[in-house]
Amino acid sequence: MISLYVGSTSGYTGKTLITMGLGHKLKKDGLRVGYMKPVGILPLKVDDILTDHDAWRIYRALELKDPVPDICPVVLTQELAVISYLKDVKGLLGKIVNSFNRLSKDKDIMLIGGYGSVYTGSYLGVQGLQVIKRLNSKAVIVVKYEGEYIVDYVLQAKKDLKDKFLGVILNKVTEDHRQSADEYAVPFLKRKGVDIIGVIPQDPVVGSITVEELTEMLGGKVLCCHDKLGNLVEHFLIGAMQADRAIEYFKKTRRNAVIVGGDRVDIQLSAIESGSVCLILTGELYPSEIILSRAEQKEVPMMVVREDTFSIAKKLEKLSVRLRLRDKSKVERGMNLVADNVDFSMIYKKLGIKTGS
């Protein structure tokens, strides 16, 4: 049995999607794949069993049959968080090992999904590095590519992981950064003996969010088109300019949501007419009936939020780093991205996996 840990050097790098993609491919190649997430940070109850949102999603995607409580043995609820700061919580690592042992019995390969970075979790006694060591895993490090400087983190991780270090996947590489990755980071890392397992481009669909999720995160009230809350938003625009200028932006930006003051009727109409997929009206100012009926007609969901445009934009800026894989079309797209951009033959070779093909 082989165990592969998907970790990172910082949070929100796209580990979940990559784990899911790896699992898919391994399964397709005829391996008996198991999965666990030692520490979950998005608590969820399934039939009163405590687990984690991301873990549950992968469990379902890979059509696993193992007992649910083992999939995510440690879930960081508010309760656990508070208690762990007030006194030392013991035995969590043991719990993880036990779950792992049960799950891995009849598997060819176990995928382990890290949480946060490989350095987080010390205060619970379940730091990523510790877990990797105890489970005797190999670790692939996923890095969100934000510029050449990330090579430092990769080298540090390689040093810390020693013989457990498998290689690196550069994720969410934007068009702007592609050249820097190809010309500097990749050759540099190779020279330092780091295997590049994959370079995955930033994808607008994977990076999108549904209107429904937005409503939840912004605490908004949906005013119309309740059946269009599944609309995917890829970009946010702030409607504070003159209407004629605004229309240009609205038209050339794919799947945009417009943040606009509730009293800016001109901008609202322009956005509705030029194909925006969602309007976020700020300042708790409700639109007129004319706007509402036009939005309903054009099937553009609108929500009202309490905060002003500036605060909402600030919130959305933070939001983009912690998008979750919820939507089915996003997941499929993500699977394809992983399949197309990860060098599976290298993984197989390094892990000593032989497949029929």
Binding site: Q78, D263, E284, R306
Partner: protein
């Protein structure tokens, strides 16, 4: 006050011109041609004589004493002229010249220098950038307006020169009489309050009319207006109202209070009669300047046609006026001379074939009823009616009584000479019945204002100390928002009942707290980053068991962790479920000009949609609190509908007064609201369920 402006013995026009069409020419001409009897000195360095008057090259060359300087020189020379005024001991100036703060940064700098200079030299001035001033009684027309209004009792001041011209032009053909006409311009020295005070002391002014776009010192404005309005009616048209400023506010109260609310409250609390259109401004002015006030709400309508009578009756219904039937004795008297098909009750329809004598007899009969406080006369120009004779008849009746008569002779061509007669003898005529009724109503409201007892202010002292510590602490920590526990303690210090509550960090503690308080309980998320808990799904109510409390703890904290990972969750608050009641909101907001205002509204979470709210500027009197509640449309809900018990209205009023005291005690409060404030049955008081406070400044 301002005597040298209104009644100068000599006037100098600095910048007098010989060229017709120039302002310096027109002003001098106006001063001369409308019969001003004092000395006039044109100042023009390149002329020896202007419009037949000996001209001087400088103010300092004039040997005589000068009371008033009218300045028309280019803006760059104005400061020098003010210096000369000082040297010549002239303490009053009208600065017509434009090119000050209305024209940009350079102008604004110049205006600041001008103010400084005038203070150094002891010169008070009207303007700059104004049209001038007219006093019809002393025959001073120091303006470049075309024409001179008739003598009369209306004193008018206006921030807009253009509006002055329009009003003047409108007044000329009808010979509407004015006492004074003052174009205020930039108001950089003499302000609205100075002029209101001066007009209140002026014997010739019976009613004060104003057009303002804004005030510089809101508190002073209210203080002066309240004082003057007890003496003479002040009617003001205020423009420039928007609610745009509400956008960035973080509390309900802030979002609901626009600049409009501040002015509206300020006018109400200082007895200013508010006109919403220029037409209304005129309508009210005519009534107030010419007729006595109605001493009660009971009015009668005498008409020669049904439809207009009903329109007038409808308008009365929406006002504070009441149409009351005449005493039987007078109804019987009407029957003796009116046709049997006439309508003898109020409105009294004397039919389309009425002539002047029937009008006169009917009016005299109606006025015999002492309970009638005012009469409104309607006339439609039927073929038989003699409009002129009827007008004269109404005038005669009006002369003989000390109760108000207003008329609406409707139409244009056929009633024109009649309406002229009415106006000439001081009976205001209105084109439409609604205008007539609203003018009568304005007079009645003013009557109520001058006869209302002095406001009573409760003395709510000694609550401040405990709260002061908290506010100091918040300031020390450079926060602008108060933590919930702090809000709790402040409300407690000011005597507000609040639900029993206990803080819990874990599910275990939450269950213990719930047990201590007693089921059912409410659970609320506690996080400094979350202001509006329910928006984030951070509130669960009516939890009745250990299991429910545990689940709620998981749900609430998980949800918040998911959607706001950056928020710090301190824990949850377990609160007792307060028994049912009506939800109201009250709050404090701060207007840049008028300071703190108190808001009241009904509707709980729907308050921002319903917008059924009222405002008063702090400090609140008992009467203010009383009126605030009754101003909202939903007030009857508090009284109880369909057999409901009445809510504790007295407790709400008391809470408003306490809030007002809080605002007085702590000027640093920028916004606060208690929402909802749960109102229980009469005698059972109110409970503050949730509240927030924001402070700022000093």
């Amino acid at each position: 006050m301002l005597d040298n402006f209104f009644n100068p013995k000599s006037i100098a026009v600095i910048g007098a011109s010989r060229t017709p069409g120039k302002v310096g020419y027109d002003i001098l001409k106006n001063i001369i041609q409308y019969g001003y009897e004092g000395a006039v000195f044109p100042i023009n360095p390149s002329a020896t004589e202007v419009l037949g008057k000996k001209s001087f090259s400088s103010l300092l060359d004039v040997p005589d004493k000068i009371d008033l300087a009218v300045v028309v020189v280019p803006s760059k020379n104005v400061i020098e002229v003010i210096g000369q005024c000082g040297a010549k001991k002239i303490d009053s100036a009208i600065i017509i010249t434009a090119g000050f703060k209305e024209s940009g940064i350079e102008g604004a700098k110049l205006e600041n220098e001008l103010i400084k200079k005038s203070q150094e030299c002891g010169v008070r001035f009207i303007g700059p950038n104004c049209l001038g001033m007219i006093d019809t009684h002393s025959k001073v027309n120091a303006s470049f307006a075309a024409g001179m209004p008739a003598k009369g009792g209306i004193g008018f001041f206006s921030q807009s020169g253009a509006l002055c011209l329009a009003v003047l032009d409108r007044a000329l053909p009808d010979e509407i009489g004015f006492s004074k006409f003052i174009s205020m311009g930039n108001k950089s020295d003499i302000t609205d309050t100075d002029v209101m005070l001066a007009l209140s002391e002026d014997e010739n002014t019976k009613v004060i009319l104003g057009y303002i776009e804004g005030v510089t010192d809101g508190r002073k404005f209210m203080e002066v207006a309240a004082q003057v309005s007890k003496k003479k009616p002040i009617i003001i048209l205020k423009s420039g109202i928007t609610s745009a400023g509400a956008k960035a506010a973080s509390s309900h109260t802030g979002a609901l209070a626009g600049r409009e609310a501040a002015f509206d409250s300020a006018f109400k609390q200082s007895g200013v009669i508010r006109a919403h259109t220029i037409n209304e401004l005129f309508n009210y002015a005519l009534a107030f300047a010419n007729q006595p006030l109605p001493k009660g709400p009971y009015v009668a309508i005498v008409t020669n046609s049904g439809g207009p009578g009903i329109l007038a009756a409808d308008a009365c219904d929406k006002s504070n006026l009441q149409l009351t039937p005449l005493h039987k004795e007078y109804v019987d008297e009407l029957r003796t001379f009116l046709p049997p098909v006439a309508s003898f009750y109020n409105p009294i329809d004397i039919l389309g074939d009425s002539g002047a004598d029937r009008y006169e007899r009917a009016l005299n009969t109606v006025l015999k009823d002492e309970r009638i406080n005012g009469v409104m006369v309607l006339l439609t120009p039927t073929a038989v009616v003699d409009v002129d004779a009827t007008a004269m008849a109404v005038v005669n009746v009006s002369k003989s009584i000390d109760r108000p008569i207003l008329t609406s002779f409707m139409g244009k061509q056929r009633v024109e000479s009649g309406t002229k007669t009415l106006m000439k003898y001081g009976v205001p005529n209105y084109s439409y019945p609604e205008e007539m009724v609203s003018s009568m109503n304005a007079m009645y409201n003013y009557y109520l204002w001058i006869n209302r007892p002095e406001k009573t202010y409760n003395n709510i002292n000694g609550l401040k100390e405990k709260a002061a510590e908290i506010f100091d602490e918040v300031k020390k920590e450079s926060r602008d928002r108060l933590y919930e526990l702090e809000v709790h303690d402040i409300l407690q210090a000011y005597g507000f009942s609040q639900p029993k509550s206990l803080f819990a960090r874990t599910p275990e503690e939450a269950v213990a707290a719930a047990k201590g308080i007693g089921y059912p309980v409410v659970m609320k998320i506690m996080s400094p980053q979350i202001v509006h808990k329910s928006d984030m799904g951070g509130v669960k109510i009516n939890l009745i068991s250990k299991k429910e409390v545990e689940n709620a703890f998981f749900d609430i904290t998980t949800r918040v962790r998911n959607i706001m990972p950056a928020a710090h969750i301190s824990g949850v608050m377990i609160q007792e479920m307060v028994p049912k009641g009506k939800e109201v909101i009250m709050g404090i907001t701060k207007d840049p000009h008028f300071g703190h205002m108190i808001m009241f509204g009904l509707g709980g979470i729907y308050v921002e949609v319903l917008k059924d709210i009222s405002f008063r500027i702090v400090p609140l009197s008992q009467e203010d609190a009383h009126e605030m509640l009754r101003e909202t449309k939903t007030f009857p809900l508090l009284r109880g509908v369909r057999g409901e018990a009445e809510a504790d209205i007295e407790a709400i009023e008391k809470s408003l007064l306490i809030l007002s005291q809080m605002a007085v005690d702590f000027p640093q409060i920028i916004e606060a609201d208690i929402n909802p404030l749960l109102v229980r049955q009469r005698g059972e008081g109110v409970v503050a369920i949730d509240a927030r406070f924001t402070i700022g400044g000093d």
